[in-house]
Amino acid sequence: MIRVNGRERPDPTNVRLLLSDYLRHELGLTGTHVGCEHGVCGCCTVLLDGRPVRSCLMLAVQAGRHEVTTIEGLAGEGKLHPIQQAFHECHALQCGFCTPGFVLAVAGLLAKHRKPSDLEIDEGISGNLCRCTGYASIRRAVRRATELSK
């Protein structure tokens, strides 16, 4: 059993399955996006025991002893998490493909630094690629998220 978004879910059907593919194909949690599949783009970022990790760089079977949180589990049903609200307000997304990964990377950043410096923000989002909106509005959204999280 693997705990995903607070629910016990069945074990992956194959040990070769990446966590990202398990979430998408076996659980239907398609909010975890898959871009490069080798750890460069950051789109597949999920929280493992509250810390952001790349789900394409883990086997699903390795999540067995851990709590996985995907973008679907970040806020309650029908609600926006403060980070999602901040991304919305600051126009920090355009096509939205990279957004779940960014939101979860920022969740990890804000868990570690409640009021991150500009440098810490840049470092915190440095592992995620955005190809349309650009990073200025995403930086603004991180600052806005710290206000909304108070």
């Binding site: 194959n14 040990v15 070769r16 399955l17 990446l18 593919d21 599949e37 080798h38 750890g39 950051g42 970022t45 493992l48 810390r51 952001p52 990790v53 790349r54 394409c56 760089l57 883990m58 086997l59 079977v61 390795q62 002893r65 990377a105 990890g108 950043l109 840049d122 470092e123 915190g124 440095s126 592992g127 995620n128």
Partner: protein, 250 residues
């Protein structure tokens, strides 16, 4: 399915892991997986067996030992980076960890895994070499300590035997000025060239098949770095001169 077929083993003790490594043909140790899983995804690696050491709780430690810091094979880079003992005794290591890939990668990657992977452009092997550290390799036949100078053999090649597990890395205390400087095309990428300074000792990375010790007054002496799409050999030699000047200016 991205990774090629393999049999998966998840021992819960070091002894169990060593038994598996002694018994299995063509086994690869899976630690943080931040290099190995991409290699599997690209099918550049296709080991018959994966021995996953992430479930071995006894390897998850950072402790003071012999005036330095001992880091277990299970310790994550981000935990080591934030560790108070590491920051106090071996600030060079903490400084270097802040430049390893990105925070999200460091949440999963391990210090010992990076050393065992022996990427010539990675920061941690150069830090171990500059600091004069060593690794502890264990197999069912016993344990041996290998100095950094003897450990790195070539590109992705170390002195570890197939049945050995790198159970611990030991970094001596940082004494005197220290620096970790590197140049890469994008923040967080592997360096085109880099330098680790620990007191008067200097190790370079990204410019040879292994990290190399160098003379701070003539750092590029004897070097013949390779060229690729990102940097010519001459540019790498130029970077070495500039980076070493910066490392020793502080």
């Amino acid at each position: 399915m991205k990774p090629p077929p393999f049999d998966y083993h998840a021992p819960s003790t070091t002894a169990e892991a060593l038994d598996l490594l002694a018994k299995l043909e063509d086994a690869k140790v899976l630690a943080g997986g931040q290099s190995l899983i991409p290699l599997l995804n690209f099918r550049l690696a296709s080991p018959a067996h994966l021995v996953d050491i992430n479930g071995i709780a006894e390897l998850e430690y950072v402790r003071e030992r012999d005036g330095g810091v001992a880091i277990g094979a299970g310790a994550r880079q981000s935990d080591v980076e934030d560790d108070k003992t590491v920051r106090r005794i071996c600030p060079l290591l903490a400084e270097a960890l802040g430049q390893v890939a990105h925070p999200v990668i460091r949440n999963r990657g391990t210090v010992c895994g990076s050393l065992a992977h022996a990427d010539p452009a990675a920061e941690l092997p150069a830090v171990l070499l500059a600091a004069g550290g060593e690794v502890v390799a264990r197999s069912v036949h016993g344990e041996r300590r290998i100095t950094a100078q003897d450990f790195f053999k070539g590109v992705f090649d170390s002195a570890l035997e197939a049945d050995e597990l790198l159970v611990e890395a030991w970094f001596p205390a940082t004494t005197g000025p220290f620096a970790l400087v590197e140049e890469s095309r994008r923040h967080g990428d592997f360096a085109l060239a880099g330098a680790a300074r620990s007191g008067d000792r200097l190790a370079l990375f990204g410019v040879a098949p292994t990290p190399v010790l160098a003379d701070p007054t003539d750092p590029s002496h004897g070097l013949s770095p390779s060229g690729d799409l990102e940097a010519t050999p001459a540019f790498r030699l130029h970077l070495v001169e500039v980076l070493v000047r910066r490392a020793f200016a502080s």
